[in-house]
Amino acid sequence: MDINIEQIRKDFPILNETVHGKPLIYFDNAATTHKPQVVIDAVSEVYKKYNSNIHRGVHHLSNVCTQAHENARIKVQKFINAEHSHEVIFTRGTTESINLIASSFGESFLKPGDEILVSQLEHHSNIVPWQLLEKRIGIKLRYIPINDAGELKLDTIDQLINSKIKLIAIAHISNALGTINPIKTIINKAHALNIPVMIDGAQAIQHVKVDVQELDCDFYVFSGHKLYGPTGIGVLYGKEEWLNKMEPYHGGGEMIKTVSFEGTTFNELPFKFEAGTPDFSGSVGLGAAIAYVEQIGIGKIAQYEHMLLEYATEKLSAIPNIRFFGTAKEKASVISFLIGDIHPFDLGTMLDKMGIAVRTGHHCAQPLMQYFNIPGTIRASFAIYNTKEEIDKLIEGITRVVQLFG
């Protein structure tokens, strides 16, 4: 595997930090990834060299800054292979992207009695916005159930899909289990009945190649901060035909063409959905993150992370009384587990003392935890800078804790 892991680790300054006097071992990458120096530099350059409000100034800096922001949009467009750059809307993150769709798609196309289909393994951010629509519009939220391995029960989809369903909104990869969902199959089934599909790519964009044209999804959403980019910037990709037909989300500057007290006309895409001053330092940082990922190669990243996943799964399997949650055939580098009766909070607290950061709790997927009838799990999720040696330390740490509780 021609990945220079030592060089990659040097790219991430935070990996030099110590936690409770121990070198940091960071396995909470599904929550957020760390940032390479090139991203930190790109953001800081904005403020040092060309900070200015964009899309409106005649002065030099404003033009430079506008250019940088729009170049970032093109980088995103190429990264996900969108047909047009105006199909890329900058948002604050996945959550805002989904809320935007719920609000604008809901207002434009939904009426009482219509249904939205999600799945049992969704993050709360792909459940609650639709529940708000249940209250506001009177739609009904339904879900595709999963099996014990944490895979969608695909055979139920045909019964679930009917003419009442107006949108299918589904995670590409489960944040709590790592399951890679068969989204292409779902999109094909949905399109056969003219139902649009939104893919929540928050856990996928950093792990697998996403090609929105090949997928033919109608919407694809993700966050910058899980893709080695800055926090506070995210993306909503939407097919032009849908975005043009949808009502705006937020009102304000930038998103209008003309405003008078008699009425307002809206700007064209993508600006129609970007009210107010955009997060141009965030977009530039995201552009730098994408360039960083592309320079390594998303294929190589996936391959390396898969090696880590297999290594960790094998090593963890040797721990007595371990129970894995999410054993799908197709999995990204996320491992959720419990050991005996040890509470995830206790194990997480002790690992933290050893400098190892894991996630504990329900992972914002309480319906999924209810399915497994557990309060939560311990989750280790890997990124490009993690190593087998770090996984060995995790195993050592867990073994120490097990002895203590034994």
């Binding site: 509470h343 909070f345 206790d346 607290t349 002790m350 120490r400």
Partner: protein
């Protein structure tokens, strides 16, 4: 002993631990040993739901003193609960309301009791004070 004397005692006990591991072993030990929370108290109204661990708190007056009982599904949380009960239980409402829990910081557990932690302990401490205020109002 006064609340402050017990706090001093706990600080003293913890000062003998050189390693964090010893400290947490001790918390696990006293967490495991914490008893007295009756099943009939395991009610929705006594539950403090943290994002990470659940805490149940019950309080009742015996003579002029408040007796606290509490439980958690996580052992480390339970260990810290045991310390809080040792300091605050069997005290008058005034003693509780006038107390300042300095021991938490002194023994290096401040992290667990900061508002950013979602383990239910912060809400539990608030709840203990609220009980003291309520019982005091009842006495008056």
């Amino acid at each position: 002993m006064t609340i402050n004397e017990i706090q001093e005692e706990i600080i003293d006990e913890f000062s003998s631990f050189d390693e964090w591991m010893d400290k947490y072993s001790y918390l696990i030990e006293i967490g495991n040993d914490l008893e007295g929370f009756k099943d009939e108290w395991r009610l929705e109204q006594n539950l403090i739901e943290g994002c990470q661990s659940k805490v149940w708190v019950h309080a009742e007056m015996q003579d002029d003193k408040i007796i606290y009982s509490a439980d958690s599904d996580a052992i480390i949380t339970k260990g810290i609960i045991a310390l809080l009960i040792r300091v605050l239980s069997n005290r008058t409402p005034d003693e509780i309301l006038n107390s300042e829990l300095s021991f938490v910081e002194e023994i290096g557990l401040k992290d667990h009791l900061s508002p950013t932690r979602s383990n239910g302990l912060v809400s539990m401490m608030k709840q203990m004070r609220l009980y003291a205020i309520a019982f005091k109002a009842k006495q008056a």
